[in-house]
Chain length 496, copies 2
């Protein structure tokens, strides 16, 4: 895999100087075009052998291009804000927006490789990390991102020579512990595991480029040319390539009986029972959230449901059990300009709570497979791939010790009609009803299909959907609280 | 000051229940109107005596209003990301956008009071903190924010009774060390210093409301009514009140000689000298940034200047001395939607670097007193008050141990013309010249006035402006680097 990178490549000073001006001009042009179009972000991952010129090359790219449109991010020690959230959060918060270039030093590959070389993880865990990286990159590419993955390489002998040179250079003091690398053992392990990672994560949409690191001129031109070629092609495409979605239609059932129809919406709770049970569940919830085991977990509660199904009321009853400092409610509306310049999931990642806290999402990332699907706000390809991306996302939350509880509040068409009418008539409820609500109602059956698909494709033991029979608000509110409590207790029990 | 709050106020259950529905409806209406208008944010500061119902009231407000449009923020222990930046950064990052309500527990007042009560600071430092709070609030109000400051009060006897009650209640366990408060000494100190703070920070635009805390019904209604009245009035105003700016025109000089005219733009640097000096200053800069004393400081470098004065080139020479992981370049363009929903300075605060790092601002917060003033993008009142706000802002940076270096790159009209023409002709420079540049050029004299005013009003020993004679690019680049180096060395020398 590294054979051709270890060959003695070199470009002499004269021919380097000759090529440089045109190359720099073309890079600047491409960068400007990227900014003007603002259609996609560019993510450059820097990895490889110590001493192979990673830092120098990044420095050079910043000199050759316009540094105002590049952000260079390092990820070494996690801050305490990052430590309190799932590992991927730190990458999401630093993603470059469309039109910009982000250079990630110390990215997910460095983390997994360093951990494996230090024997902090075994091969199985490395494979899990590889798998997670692949999913993340595929998602980013599907969202339009252009990813370059560079592996800066040196043979063992080249590395030893290089490190000896660097020792004398005070400018190299910022480098990561080059001393470790003097031991050939570390080199061997790094290259062996590096090979495995490269082999398993080179994909047509995000291939690895192995950069021969020994000759400065060669490696600088190599990286710059690769970048330029990739940029120019991507800038000329009408749109970033999309893989073709499966063309068989989704059919939720052949007998016209869906999940939602099978709910017993006639369930009710008498007022007295409601008062007692609500108080009991709220006290239980308050106790659980103050339990010291909660310090190890975040809690994310997702509310989806028919319009007028009572999401707001359920959210208030859930929140009422807590000190307002323990939670945030995140209402999901149309994305802001900064959110539109990022991959779809970015605007949810930014609200993921730290350990010990709760975030309540009033509507959520499921918008893509519900309203966006039904209303045609995104392409079929987009919402079809969303199921997989959402599963990956929720998997990362679970690994990050976030307890995730997802509710679909279901009412029937008659109940909705009655509630819409009430909203139109009662003063302070009138702001809860709009023309749009009536329009959505016309698409009731399409929403039923979308909900069934959503539950079928995204419910699993780690993040199950709870369908809540919500014709009776009291019944629904208590069921919501009880479900959250059970989920927390189950999570705490697993901690033991 | 607290006399009338210590009177036995009470509202019986029946009359409370009677008033409640209409009040809640009105609060919801006002909150909805606030969101619809999205003209200003609401900031509620919660302070006062332990046990006086602060937490309970906030909880209640969340139940009575729509919690999806409220965010409750606490500020107790600083995270390491916050510790690495000036103290005010943590408040800026949590400011509610226009249309939303932010409730700040443990805000600037709690911090200063707790510090004073614990004798960590003396009266003089408390006065500085009071002064800073006043400036911050005045700025927020000038930007349209509606601020409510509530002081929840109890007499000493009321407090003692209340804490005794709470001891038995498991739900109160999240409260801050109520035990301290059992000592009347703490109460006395807290009230004494609290009085001083309230007296000095009650202003027409952001008055304090002292809430009698003994009776739950009374205090709940008191807060809710205050909030409602304030909201309703603010919502009906065509625009948030603006104080009247001073009406005497700014005159930079009576003899038509400005600061800029007095520069000797003929200064040059020969190519050989340039190469040597640039290399020397870059090496010096690299060394200073790696100095361990740099861990105590952030560095912010601001570039302003005539169009085509060579800001980009100077920035590249400065950045080239460093590892790209040590800095971010922040190009200031039109504000995004999220930035427009915040006070003017918010979009700069978000890019303030942590200790040990540099942020280079390519154009900056001075836009308001330059392009926005000249082009009429903001009102005269806005740019006139900006001088004071900017001085306050930079003062906070300085106290937060940020070294601030500000450059105005000056060229004369002929040099600008030549550079514009060159840009139009040379391939990869053509994206640097737009119609707008030519239009700005027509307002050359107005810009000269604006620059003179800016320097006169915002240059001071802590954050001086450096005027850079930039007709000769080489001269300018070396002067920029040397000035930054001298500023760092001066800051390090003061550390001793």
């Amino acid at each position: 895999m590294f054979e051709s990178a270890e060959i003695k490549h070199a470009i002499d000073e004269k021919s380097f100087e000759q090529q440089l001006p045109a190359l720099r001009e073309a890079l600047l042009e491409a960068q400007f075009e990227l900014q003007q179009q603002s259609r996609f972000p560019v993510i450059i991952l820097i990895n490889g052998i110590e001493g192979a010129g990673k830092g120098e090359t990044v420095k050079l790219l910043n000199e050759w291009m316009d540094p105002r449109l590049i952000s260079v991010e390092t990820f070494d020690l996690q801050t305490d804000e990052e430590l309190a959230r799932p590992p991927a959060w730190r990458y999401w918060r630093k993603l470059p927006p469309k039109g910009r270039i982000g250079i990630f030093f110390g990215n997910w590959y460095s983390q997994m490789l360093q951990a494996r070389v230090d024997d902090r993880i075994n091969d199985a865990v490395l494979d899990q990390a590889i798998d997670a990286a692949e999913r993340l990159e595929r998602m980013l590419c599907d969202e339009g991102a252009l990813i370059f993955k560079f592996w800066f390489h040196l043979s063992k002998k080249q590395m030893k020579n290089r490190l000896k040179e660097l020792e004398g250079d005070p400018l190299s003091s910022w480098r990561l512990s080059p001393l470790d690398w003097q031991q050939s053992k570390v080199y061997d392990k790094f290259v062996r595991h590096g090979e495995r990672v490269i082999r398993r994560t080179s994909r047509d949409y995000a291939p690895w480029y192995v950069v021969p690191g020994a000759d400065e001129n060669y490696r600088s031109l190599f990286v710059a040319r690769t970048l330029l070629d990739g940029l120019q092609v991507a800038l000329q495409e009408q749109q970033r390539p999309q893989r073709h979605p499966h063309s068989a239609p989704l059919v939720s059932s052949l007998d016209n009986r869906g999940l939602i129809d099978s709910l017993d919406l006639s369930q009710t709770l008498a007022k007295d029972d409601y008062k007692t049970q609500l108080a009991t569940e709220q006290a239980r919830f308050a106790r659980l959230m103050r339990d010291k085991r909660m310090r190890q977990h975040g809690l994310v509660v997702v509310f989806e449901g028919n319009d007028a199904a009572g999401k707001g009321g359920a959210i208030r009853r859930l929140a009422a059990a807590l000190d307002p400092r323990q939670y945030h409610v995140v209402p999901i509306a149309a994305p802001t300009e900064e959110e539109r310049a990022q991959p779809y999931l970015w605007r949810f990642w930014r609200h993921i709570p730290p350990r010990g806290k709760m975030a309540i999402f009033d509507r959520s990332w499921y918008g893509r497979v519900l309203v966006e699907r039904v209303e045609g706000f995104c392409s079929q390809a987009d919402w079809l791939r969303a199921y997989g991306e959402i599963n990956d996302f929720e998997d990362q939350l679970a690994r990050g010790r976030i307890v995730l509880v997802k509710f679909w509040l279901a009412i029937d068409k008659e109940t909705q009609y009655a509630r819409f009418k009430e909203r139109e008539e009662v003063g302070f409820k009138r702001f809860k009803i709009t023309e749009e609500d009536w329009r959505n109602r016309d698409k009731w059956d399409q929403y039923v299909d979308a909900v069934c698909d959503m539950v079928d494709r995204t419910s699993n033991s780690r993040a199950p959907w709870t369908l809540v029979e919500a014709n009776d608000k009291r019944f629904a509110r208590v069921k919501v609280l009880r479900t959250v409590n059970e989920a927390l207790e189950a999570a705490f029990a697993q901690d033991l």
